[in-house]
């Protein structure tokens, strides 16, 4: 899995005591946006066969942003692959370092590390809130998750929120 928000979410749900399947579903739902990124990149990259299989793993927020910000398709392709390789390398080295380093931590709470995941999710969320509707959706989603949380197993509030926002997006507004 190479898509940060999904990785954080999977770990977050399991860490909060949720089932691994609720975590996996949340991770996949968060990854759904990458399909739309792929759609935008498909004509730009024009990759086939093995190159497409490799390119798919690099379809992310960052690579899409870098690729579509270029006017010239050749520069777009370069931006996509360069950003993808750099991210893939350093992201996974960082993950490995983190996995090895946690064994040295006796109590992560002492370092305030239990406050890190919400801050990380907030930092991922903030750039998407530049207009009124996303902000209203974010506030409503947070409220719904908190209200249902005591009544359903851990992780399930996220799935309820995903279902509600999908229904809202598909049927809630006039075209």
């Amino acid at each position: 899995m190479f898509t940060g928000a999904s990785q954080f979410a999977l770990v977050g749900v399991i860490g909060a005591g949720g089932s691994v399947w609720a975590g996996a579903a949340t991770a996949a739902l968060l990854g759904s946006r990458n399909a739309l990124y792929g759609l935008r990149l498909a004509s730009l990259l024009d990759v086939r066969g093995v190159r497409r299989v490799a390119a798919a793993q690099f379809v992310l927020d960052e690579t899409t942003a870098m690729a579509i910000a270029r006017d010239d398709p050749r520069q777009s392709r370069f931006a996509f692959w360069a950003t993808g390789f750099a991210l893939f390398t350093f992201w996974n080295l960082g993950t490995l370092a983190g996995a090895l380093a946690t064994h040295a931590l006796s109590n992560p709470k002492l370092l305030g590390l239990d406050a890190a995941p919400p801050a990380a999710f907030l930092a991922l969320l903030a750039p998407r809130l530049r207009s009124r509707e996303p902000l209203a959706i974010a506030i409503a989603a947070a409220a719904v998750a908190i209200v249902v949380l005591p009544f359903v197993p851990a992780g399930v509030p996220l799935l309820i929120v995903a279902l509600l926002v999908s229904l809202y997006g598909l049927f809630g507004r006039a075209a």
Binding site: M1, T3, S6, F8, L10, A16, G17, V20, W21, G23, A24, A27, A28, L29, L30, G31, R33, N34, A35, L36, G38, L39, A42, S43, R52, V53, A56, Q57, V59, L110, G112, D114, A115, A116, P117, P118, A119, A120, F121, L122, A123, L124, L125, I137, A138, I139, A140, A141, A145, L149, P150, A154, P157, L158, V161, A162, V165, G169, L170, A175
Partner: protein, 99 residues
């Protein structure tokens, strides 16, 4: 069991990316799909922020994480970089626990 979930989630995330590159353009070009898919991460990330701040297991709790979230909100409003936001929140929680 955990690894089965991790593998399935990984396969799903990869399949979604490959589908975007491979499926006929018109399948994903339905305006309702185009409108809805970007809303899903917004709602899920907001719900994750809320649940990871205000709960332990299935219980709602108000502790130093709430103060850390306030600091994180200030940091993102000031457009601080990702690591600064996370570090500021962690530091807030750690310092408040020392009090």
């Amino acid at each position: 069991m955990i690894w089965a979930g991790v593998l399935i989630a990984s396969a799903s995330c990869y399949a979604l990316k490959l589908a975007g590159l491979s499926l006929p353009q018109r399948w994903l070009q339905d305006p309702r799909v185009q409108r809805t898919v970007p809303l899903i991460p917004i709602a899920l990330l907001a719900a994750l922020v809320a649940t990871q701040t205000f709960s332990t297991g299935q219980h709602l709790v108000l502790d130093v994480r709430a103060a850390a979230l306030v600091v994180a909100i200030v940091a993102v409003v000031l457009r601080a970089p990702f690591l600064v936001v996370v570090a500021a929140a962690s530091l807030t929680a750690a310092l408040l626990r020392l009090l």
